[in-house]
Symmetry: C2
Subunit: 256 residues, 2 copies
């Protein structure tokens, strides 16, 4: 039975997409069947996995708004056992349209829950906001992973995110649990990075993953080739860090 994991943080540019794509690829490398659901209208996870958004006639918008069968929307990627439910620019108007529909927070869950047994993992890449698209992800997910950039501003929005999780848990999805907090873009040359790590550990304790993702230029180059880091440069520090994270995620969930 698959595990549904939302990767969310309304702060922008903290590594949500990079984590979805690369953690997904590392788990697929170990033989897990992984589906990545891109619900960000920017479609970065879609292009980061080499799918050309301009050629897509249908996407997650059609699942959320038109009730199209999810199975018809799934795409294979270059990585064995790694599948994608893509997003396109049509999703940009999706949040406003979704607001007018019945069961607006649960349409992602309704449209995908029958596919859960077909995968070991379903990752949902969220946009940088706490609107209806992210709410749909938090309502469907049983686990949440929060990437936090090792930067000062990244600490600011955590209160808002945690209160949204509490709200979701009390009204839409009582099963939602925080799997962990992931520190990203760590730069050992700056004091700021270490200060943020210390601060986040103080607030989240052992919810913080031991693995820290370093700032690594290979991670930011890989999307321009449409490949996850494991295919683009498997021996890089970025690939190793995400493999270590995959190991930890499996440790934390093995008894589930």
């Amino acid at each position: 039975m698959g595990t549904v994991l939302a990767v969310a943080n309304q702060k922008g540019g903290v590594g949500k997409t990079t984590t979805c794509v690369n953690l997904g690829a590392c788990l697929a490398e170990r033989g897990h069947r992984v589906l990545i659901v891109d619900i960000d209208p920017q479609g970065n996870a879609t292009s980061g996995l080499g799918i050309d958004r301009r050629n897509l006639r249908q996407c997650v918008y059609d699942l959320l708004i038109n009730g199209i069968e999810a199975g018809e929307l799934l795409r294979e990627t270059e990585v064995t056992d790694l599948w994608l439910l893509p997003s396109t620019i049509r999703l940009a108007g999706g949040e406003v349209e979704l607001a007018t529909l019945p069961r607006r927070e649960t349409r992602l869950r309704e449209g995908l829950k029958h596919l859960v047994p077909a995968f070991d993992w379903i990752f949902i890449d969220c946009p940088p906001s706490l609107g209806l698209l992210t709410l749909n992800a938090l309502t469907f997910a049983e686990l949440l992973l929060i990437p936090i950039q090792c930067e000062y501003y990244a600490l600011e929005g955590l209160g808002q995110l945690l209160s949204t999780i509490t709200m979701v848990r009390s009204s839409l999805n009582p099963h939602l649990e925080l799997l962990g907090v992931l520190l990203t873009m760590f730069d050992p040359r700056t004091n700021l990075s270490q200060q943020v790590v210390d601060e986040v550990r103080k607030v989240f304790g052992d919810k913080v993953f031991r693995s820290i993702i370093p700032r690594n230029v290979r991670l930011s180059e890989a999307p321009s080739y449409g490949k996850p880091i494991t295919l683009y440069e498997g021996s890089s520090k970025g690939a190793q860090a995400y493999r270590e994270l995959a190991e930890e995620v499996l440790e934390r969930t093995h008894d589930k």
Copy 2:
């Protein structure tokens, strides 16, 4: 008569707040009267200017939703002639509430237009989305500055942003003009940075500012002291780059 400038890009983490705070401080340093309006619920511009959000009883939410007089909400900052209209976590629910109100796209303009003559510049720091808060900014502004990070994913969302601008111009604000595109977090050690610069110049031509903001750790440290770069480390490369940008912004607008 003041110039209203929106700093927007729905891609997250590209340097919108950093540009508002530091370009604002550089213009104030030259004797211009500047107001920074923070309409991002995360309130990074508010804390980046040293204002403690927890102590604020009222903020931009009260202007947008409760029609409170803007003058009562303005705060002085540590920088002479640099003022702030702060945001707090209360704004997080603001977008949904705004959607139910009459004249929902023009409430920022209605609430602030009488203050325009009191400032030389009004900068609006937008959240990483194209929802009602950003629409309010684009409806009020006459000029738009788009920061673009020197990263691959940053190129992806431009089509969406440009089509939003076209929509705003045709229905809400025919005067909106693109002042320029600013390249940020340029890292000379990577090929990727230069590739993005070349690509953005190809698409935007001379709309791209000559000044490029380098990746500079002082810029990311300054917010943790609540100071813009001009007060935190005036001789840093980050401060120099934003001063050069200020010069160029004045060149581009002097005949206005």
